[in-house]
Amino acid sequence: MSKVLTIEEIVGSLESGMTIGIGGWGSRRKPMALVRAICRSPLTDLTVVTYGGPDVGLLCAAGKVRRLVTAFVTMDSIPLEPHFRQARQTGAIELTEYDEGMFMFGLYAAAHRLPFLPTPVGLGSDVMKINPGLKTVRSPYEDGTELVAVPALTMDAALVHMNRADARGNAQYLGPDPYMDDLFAKAADRTYVSCERLVDTADLAKEGPPQSMLISRAHVAGVVETPNGAHFTDCAPDHGRDEAFQKLYAKSAADPEQWAAFRDRFLSGDEAAYQDAVRVWREEK
């Protein structure tokens, strides 16, 4: 019954060319340990579907992204993501851009096996122009309203980071916002959950109320415990965003030499090496 895997097993099950969904929102509760593992894997040519944060930046910097599907990329307290900007400005990635509500409708459609969901959002804006594949539908009722048919954002695999999970793959968030993580889990052919702490099933109810158990094992293919695995993004209430580290990341990303130094120091080893390097960096401060 156990679905516990290692980071390497999860990333090893992914293939180049896949469409990968990533949960969280901006620089919040991103499955960064899994993202870092993809960066050091041989995977290439990925289509990444996400409300983007530094997950997008790291994957772009590692040359893993062919196409990005998103409504924004931001690090919240630092509005713009330097690696994403560079990837766009050098033409290194393709982009499918949606309004953030349209994007959510695409997730809901995929999560419920609908080909699309209708919304007026997008009409009049250049989203329709830069996304020429978008079609409109007309309400079959008396109102006859014209609506955008947002296509289902289906994906081969999704990665989400949660506060708690059990070995069966039931997963729980304890922060103030579920983001869209359960929708990602339902939208993907298979979903992998990383978590701050793996607990016994009986203990989930001690950690939070029933409605905090966001993701059912029915939608989870594998689970891995990665303490501080969302670092440096926010993972309330376990830890906030590491603002100092995020600043270091953004500053380093803006300059090739500094980025090389950052990469050597923090990203050249496995996840344990990363966490050690962060610990040492913090002690030096």
Binding site: E97, E100, P120, G122, P176, L183
Partner: protein, 251 residues
């Protein structure tokens, strides 16, 4: 002359202008996402003439009372995580203040990228919620630095729709210099008022397209003593508003 009022900073004048955007809105969510000044404005409106407004702590908590900038909610009256916020856009009980990187005479706005979308010279945020906000909700804008770089003849990527593209209601644009609206027969941008110490010509020079200028351009309303007290002592004691709109050096 009331000396207290004379001492209001430009940032405080801007915050009151932002508060005025919400006058008459009643029990709707004030989504002032564009910066400190509009966030302060929404909470000031709620603290004074628009007590029915719903405001957040910047996160998903709807707060029972307007909270100081940067503070967490003391008492929470509701929960508005991102997924529900995005549904609320369709529901409509919401008035949003966004920050445009570019805006044209009809209020079309761009926050996505500068230059050709296929290969931008400067990638910005992406369209975020711009298309939905402007199509479905009353929308206002906050521009902390009024310039010809922001007020442009044409925007490179229409992320928020203007009055000529089906905007629900573009209420006004508050900047560090002036308040502008679309109250003209062809829904073009008009100068509604200039802030104290700003000349109409200053606004014209900082705007990259032709504004509608009425014969008489009034002065933006000044904060009253109570509004100044609430901003300074209650809602923004750390003075975050002054960081967003620095006061000119005083002689």
């Amino acid at each position: 002359m009331d000396t207290t009022i004379a001492e209001a900073t430009r940032a405080e004048v801007c915050a009151v202008a932002c508060a005025e955007l919400f006058r008459g809105d009643g029990e709707i969510v004030a989504a002032a996402v564009a910066g400190f000044v509009p966030m302060l404005g929404s909470r000031l409106a709620r603290s004074t003439f628009e007590p029915g407004l719903l405001t957040t702590d910047g996160g998903p908590s709807l707060t029972a009372e307007p909270v100081p900038l940067g503070a967490a909610a003391d008492v929470v009256e509701g929960w508005l995580p991102f997924r529900d916020h995005l549904w609320l856009v369709l529901n409509g009980r919401r008035h949003v203040i966004m920050g445009p990187s570019q805006i044209d005479r009809y209020g079309n706005t761009n926050i996505s990228c500068i230059g050709d979308w296929a290969r931008p010279s400067r990638q910005l945020l992406g369209v975020r919620g711009g298309p939905g906000n402007t199509l479905l909700n009353p929308t206002s804008y906050w521009v902390p630095k009024h310039s010809t770089r922001v007020f442009t003849e044409k925007v490179d990527m229409v992320s928020g729709v203007g009055t000529d593209r089906g905007a629900h209601e573009l209420r006004a644009v508050v900047t560090n210099l002036a308040v502008l609206d679309f109250d003209t027969p062809d829904r073009r941008m008009r100068l509604r008022s200039v802030h104290p110490g700003v000349a109409v010509d200053d606004v014209v020079a900082a705007t990259g397209f032709e504004l509608v200028i009425p014969a008489e351009v009034p002065r933006t309303r000044l904060p009253d003593a109570e509004e100044l007290r609430i901003m300074r002592e209650v809602l923004d004691p750390k003075g975050l508003r002054e960081r967003e709109v620095p006061s000119e050096a005083r002689s």
